[in-house]
């Protein structure tokens, strides 16, 4: 059984290897955090990657799509742009398109938004008495798009017990198969991560990169989907 294999190997590991594994994991989590904060600075947005949560922008964006945002001051808000904004007093960001802007000489701008799939503009969504949005409500403008990947965060939010299991899942596969390591000196894959007695070094490398990538992405998504 999988869990028994895991525990056997843990017992066989000496302290140094255990520390190595823990540090490895810690490195991955902290590089995820560094990249996240770095993106926040480069893009100027407080949330540079968002997951689309509603179907109000179909057929362009569906639930679970990932959007890359920027919020640089030199880029003024113009009609037709897809903005992600938060209404005062509400946590959830909304992804809609700008319908109308009125900008004054000094740069003060007020604008109206509408979802592509909605029949009416967003005035019904704004606060009572609020007719326009302002720059301060904007989290960012959507500049890039990757489909489907964000479903993971939606699933983790809807089924919170899976959050823990999903994080442990790649860890189970990440345990070094110390039997083969100890027995065979000449080993094509020197990364110790994949459970390999495989001959193909490339597949081994991909396997291990994937384990790193999954841990990295899961760390990133836990940060993204903090609600």
């Amino acid at each position: 059984m999988l869990s028994l294999d895991f525990l056997d190997d843990v017992r066989r590991m000496n302290k140094r290897q255990l520390y190595y594994q823990v540090l490895n994991f810690g490195m991955i989590v902290s590089s995820a955090l560094m990249i996240w904060k770095g993106l926040m600075v480069v893009t100027g947005s407080e949330s540079p990657i968002v997951v689309v949560l509603s179907g109000s922008m179909e057929p362009a964006f569906h639930r679970g799509d990932l959007l890359f945002l920027t919020n640089r001051i030199e880029d003024p808000i113009r009609v037709g742009e897809i903005v992600v904004f938060r209404i005062e007093g509400r946590e959830i960001p909304i992804v809609h398109r700008v319908l109308k802007i009125h900008e004054k000489q000094n740069g003060d701008i007020k604008f109206l938004t509408k979802g592509d799939n909605n029949a009416v503009d967003d005035r019904g969504l704004y606060k009572q008495g609020q007719h326009w949005l302002e720059k301060k409500d904007v989290v960012g403008r959507a500049r890039g798009f990757v489909p489907y990947i964000g479903i993971v965060t939606i699933l983790m939010n809807d089924y919170p017990k899976f959050k823990v299991r999903a994080l442990l899942f790649p860890a189970c596969f990440s345990h070094p198969s110390y039997n083969s390591f100890i027995r065979t000196r000449a080993e094509p894959c020197s990364l110790h991560i994949c459970c390999c007695r495989c001959q193909c070094a490339l597949l081994c490398l991909l396997c291990s990169l994937f384990q790193y990538a999954v841990l990295f992405l899961l760390g990133l998504f836990v940060l993204v989907h903090r609600e």
Partner: protein, 180 residues
């Protein structure tokens, strides 16, 4: 590699890596493409009224009505990485109150597979053309442009403006009859 689970694991890992590479390939092969085409816009009728803005702040504002024609051939924009084009006709002008105003008059979603040749005649605007104030009366220079947002399968979301715009003057008087 002799348990079902480890084989499934490597298979899963490999397929995810291949899909990620394909997605990146999709993005990088179309990232620097030119996405502008010539567009012909013609305006046949312009009317102006002054009513209470029932769509928003209830002040008396200028309400414009524009009847327009659009001709464009967007066939060359669609490629393997374009999922849809979000077309919108926007009016840009400046008034005493605001240095820059932009209003979307009409929009259309054009999916890949739909007829890419636009040949629309005598179209009425989809959205109410309310100004923030009374700046449309006698405004000599209202520029109508057709732009589109290219929505890819994966990659950048550029906003492209078609080359070819038209400038319309608005009348000096309000229309009082119940026309349109």
């Amino acid at each position: 590699m002799n348990t079902v689970l480890s084989r499934a694991n490597s298979l899963f890992a490999f397929s995810l890596s291949v899909m990620a590479a394909l997605t990146f390939g999709c993005f990088i092969t179309t990232a620097f493409k030119e996405r502008s085409v010539p567009v012909r816009i013609a305006v046949s009728r312009v009317t102006l009224k002054n009513v209470e803005d029932f769509t928003g702040p209830r002040e008396r504002s200028d309400l414009g009505f524009v009847t327009f024609d659009i001709t464009a051939d967007l066939q060359s924009i669609f490629d393997w990485n374009v999922k849809q084009l979000f077309l919108y006709l926007s009016a840009e002008y400046s008034t005493k109150n605001n240095a820059l105003n932009q209003v979307v008059l009409w929009d259309k979603i054009m999916l890949r597979g739909d007829n890419p040749r636009l040949s629309l005649k005598d179209m009425k605007s989809k959205y109410f053309f309310f100004d923030d104030g009374n700046g449309l009366k006698g405004n000599r220079n209202i520029t109508l442009t057709l732009s589109w947002n290219v929505v890819p399968n994966a990659g950048i979301l550029p906003l492209v403006t078609g080359s070819g715009h038209v400038s319309v003057p608005f009348p000096d008087n309000y229309e009082t009859t119940k026309s349109y």
